[in-house]
Each structure stands twice: as C-alpha cells, then as structure tokens.
Subunit: 325 residues, 2 copies
Amino acid sequence: MLPGVNDVTTDTQAAQVARLYYVQGLTTDAIARELGLSRPKVSRLLSHARRTGLVEIRIHDPQAQPQSLEAQLRATYPFLTPHVIRVPPGSSESVWLERVSVAAATLLGQTLRAGQTVGLAWGTTLDAVSRHLTPRHVPDLEFVQLNGSASARDFMSGFVTDTVTRFAGNYGARAHLFPVPTFFDDPLTKQAMWRERSVRHVLELQERADVLVYSVGAADAKLPSHVYVAGYLDPADQQTLAEQGVAGDIATVFYRADGTFGGIPMNARSSGPDLSLIARASQSICVVSGLGKVGALRGALAGGLMRTLVVDEPTAHALLHGLPG
Amino acid sequence: MLPGVNDVTTDTQAAQVARLYYVQGLTTDAIARELGLSRPKVSRLLSHARRTGLVEIRIHDPQAQPQSLEAQLRATYPFLTPHVIRVPPGSSESVWLERVSVAAATLLGQTLRAGQTVGLAWGTTLDAVSRHLTPRHVPDLEFVQLNGSASARDFMSGFVTDTVTRFAGNYGARAHLFPVPTFFDDPLTKQAMWRERSVRHVLELQERADVLVYSVGAADAKLPSHVYVAGYLDPADQQTLAEQGVAGDIATVFYRADGTFGGIPMNARSSGPDLSLIARASQSICVVSGLGKVGALRGALAGGLMRTLVVDEPTAHALLHGLPG
DNA sequence: CCGTCCCTTGAACGTCTGTTCATAACGGCT
DNA sequence: AGCCGTTATGAACAGACGTTCAAGGGACGG
C-alpha cells in the first residue's frame, strides 16, 4: 500500500472496531476475540480510526459562566464568537500556540461543509494549525490562498506552499495557490498583475469564499510573525509602518489600532485582500496566540475584522484587562 | 444536589476536562496536575461528560463494501438506509437485541433535531432502545405515542409509560401519552373515542411527526413481541389473524406478507395509526432483532414501511438468504 | 451539641491500553 | 530462484485508566 492512499479494507475494519469500541463499549480484548484478531491489531486499528478522522469526537459546551472571559469578550464585541483556550499556568508561549492550534484545527473540522470555498492566509500560526488537522473528506471543498507567497527573498521555499497543501490534502480539497510576490516593489506592477487572468481567477475565488482563516500579525510578537522576520519588509518599510500607527496585519494587509485601514500606502503594494473582504465575510476564523499579538488583536477587533476568534487564555486576559505588571 | 438536576459547575468542569482529554490529547494525570484535581476526580468528570452526552462520538463509515449485507439490502429495497449490526458468532438473541438497541439509540441521538416531533411505538425492542439512549438536550422536541397502552388486561402497568417517558426525559422533551386501549373490543367505541378532542390532539401530533420509531411485531419471535404475550389478543383473535395471512404488525396495526394492510378487520379495532402514515413518513426508523421477526420484517419491507432499518446481522442474512438449515 | 446519614474525596488496586521489539511474511529486483 | 528492503504480526512490558474502599466533611434532625 502506498502511503497516503487509504486502504478501504483497513478503513472498513477500523470503522467496525471503532463502532464496537465507542458505540457498544467493548474492550479491545473482547473485540479481538470477536473478530479473530490480536489485541495489538485492534489497538492499532483504533488509532488508525482516530488519526484518520473516522472517529469524530465533539464536545458540547454548556453555556459559559457569565464571568468567563468568553462572556466578557462577547459583551465587548457583540459580533464575535470567542473560543478562549486554557493553558497550564506558567507555561511558555510555544505551549499556548500548540494548544490554540489544536483547538483551531478541531473547530475548523467541525465548521467546514461540502461545497465551500475557504480563504487561507499563511504564517507561523496557520502552519501550526495545519499540523493538527483531523483528516476528513469534505466533498467539493476548495482552498484559496489569500496573499502571495512567491517572494524574491523567500529563502524558506516551500513553507507557505506546504501549509496550504496540508490544509487541502487533509480535507481532500483542491488548493489554489497564489504565486505572486507577497509585497510588490512597485504598486503599478501589482495593478498590472491584477489584470492577469490567472490572478483574477484567484481573486474571484477569494471574493466568494465562505470561510476565511487567518491570524493577525504583529511586529513585536515573541514568536514573531513570519512576515516580519523573513525579510519581506526592509527597515525603511518597517519604520514607515510604525510612523503611520499600524497595529497589525491580516494576510499582510495592514490596519491601525482603531481597526481602520484606508490610506496606508504599503497596502497598495501588498498582495493580500482589501480588509473589507475580511470585514464582510460571514464566517471568518481568526487564530491568535501570544501576548505580543494583543495590540494587533485589539485593533482587528475594533475594526470588526473577524467573526470567530480562537485565542489562548492569557492573551485574551491581557486584551481585556491589560498586560500584567 | 438533587438527582436529575444537572449541576452547571460540574458540567463546566467536565467539559473543560473533556476538551483537554479529547481535543488536546492530555492524560488524566496531566489534566489533574493542570487543574489541581486528583486523578480519580478527573476520571469521574470524564465519565460524567460521556454519560451525560457532553461528549459526542460518531463514527463516519467509509462506503460499504459492495458484497456487504447493507449493500445488498440497499439494492433490494432502494428506498432503504440499512444499518446491519454485527454480533459475536454463536451469541444468543438477547445479545443481538442488546447490540441492536445500543446502535439504534446512538443513531437516534444523531438524527433528532430541534423542533421535531417523534412518533414512538412501544414494546420489548423499544424498551431495550430506551435503556441505551445518550442523554442530550434537544430544544422543542416532542414525543407522541403511536398506539394506545391503556388496556383492561394490562397487568404490566407502567411498562409502556416508562419507555415513552424515558425517551422524552433523555432529550428534555415533552411526552404525549396515548391513554386509550391498545385494542378496542368494539370498533364503534374506537370511532367514538377518535372524535374526542384529547384523542384528536394526539392523532394530529402523529400526523405531523417528523420521525417515527418502531419495531415490527411477529407472533413467532423467540423473544416474543410484548403484544402477543401480554394477553392483548385472545386465541380467537390470533387464529383470525393467521387465517388472513398476517405477517406482522407495526404499532399493533397488522399487515400481510406482501406489505398490504387493507381490509384486515382487526385493524379497525387497533389504536395504532393507519400504516399509510408509516409508509408516507419522510424519516422512519425501524429497529428489528431476532430471527423470529424475519417474516414480519420481509413483509414490512415489501410494503415500504420504513426508510431506515437497524437490524442485527444474522437476521439481515436470514432475510436475504433464508434461514439456515 | 451531638449523632446520623449521605455525599465527596483520594490512596491503592487490578485491569485495560498503547508501544516496543524480535520475528515472520511479503514483494520487488537482479 | 535467491537476495534484500519493507511491512505486518503478536508476545511482553510499562504506563494509563476506572473502580473500590476507607476516611473525611457537610447537612439535617433530634
């Protein structure tokens, strides 16, 4: 059997084992005896069933406590469905990102429906999410990249492509890559490219996307957003952004602390979508982790730039009650 | 805490533990340390979360093998969605019923939607199903009994009421009982009762039911259908039915081996619904277990009297390929 | 204020489960 | 055919899990 090709015999047997285990409540031992298999084999089939998404486990939350961070977020931002992820006390930000991306991956798996188009940004956060997706086949699903990843200076070749491909592959979906530079040097070149049919096709897919998935970027995050460290912006660019009061970015399109984004020159050079696309989207999932992103997140929320937020508990707390100390 | 009243604190904590366990994949030990609880307490919360339906586990079946019994059933009865439940080789029919009712209870939990009305028959099979339901709150759900259970000879008082109440209680739904005799002695009495407003209310609910749940009855089942042993039918009645080629019943309304049910005098005395109600229903779940029910099941299938069937594997096999020996 | 009942708690136990590792079976290639 | 790399298998182990049970704590009534 080739890797990646799913064996229908194994899947059938795994489903049968999973039913006996999870529905009928038998032990692996009893299942092994009943089906004439060895117990380790049953255990392996069970792992297979879980890993390949053949078994889906969802948690139905009771209504949140009124004093919870989620309730406070809902009260402050009425358009928002927040998911605040608890982390172990005293843990590092890399643990927070791990927890948040696992939760976001699970949420995405429960959200996607057949026939939808999903707009996808890229970066450190979404890469982490992509590594925790539960495999599932969703018919007629399409992923479209929201901002370009082909940069003259992109020494981490494959990083972005891998992320998008991992999402698409996980759901048996088509991936539409966006092979343009993340930032153009000349806005006119961007305008010219935007008239190209191949680019227009991607832009149309972005327009009619049912679900958007992205994070917010911030220059001062402890785990820095990819775009700020990979050499996409030269020092002069970064200084210009700071002078204009830029608080963060979504898909390499910048916005200010109050959530506005008009009249920021750099955006004319960015390959990312106009943020009104983000604001208009009926379903948009924003995944955020790390105290360094608090400012960027507050700005995005002020601008109504997300409908669903997955965030770790310390970051959510800092957002609402300020940073400790 | 009063029994039956769910403690919101416990539920919240249980949901949190369940998320850490099932979504984040931590061990009970790690969860205990993180939340400052003892490991047994975490284990108990986890059980609580599963038992109360806070955690939902569903198995996504890969498409069935072409030579499987399910595929054969689908080919023979194109209107049917079959669920064939495997049982241990050499096991007794009571084990089959156990397996089938667990599977049926799980299926029902995945089927019901807010606002629906569910028509419910009663008997040995549905009683077994009622004992395996996963608790879940479904808003605005109503259960309505399909056939009467108040019989002058009903010495097993409470049996039927308990079944229906168990279903309703499990989903936080309202139960509409049907307090008329299972069989009237005089058809005219039935007609008179059918003009009563209380009865008409039940009949209207039956008419607009979204989902029907029932089994098929057969006189010769090894685990005999309740109606044939509880003294509802006297020997003369039973002989009359046999003479008219009756193959089985659904909610104490009889049909022949070819699935027709017109002109069976006994049905004029039965409190159950006209079988055209069953045939018309968009969703109808029939739960069948035991070789004795093969004939009754074959008749019901011939008449198109179900859309979904949950049946054990030996019974399904006997249906398609005849009884062994 | 004390006794009783009942529920909750966590240490300890025995079972169940995932994984490891040595061996066997398989399939491709020369 | 014969070799070799790869995959599948089940006995054995270590760890994780659910449950039991004796002790502790709170509510209620005497």
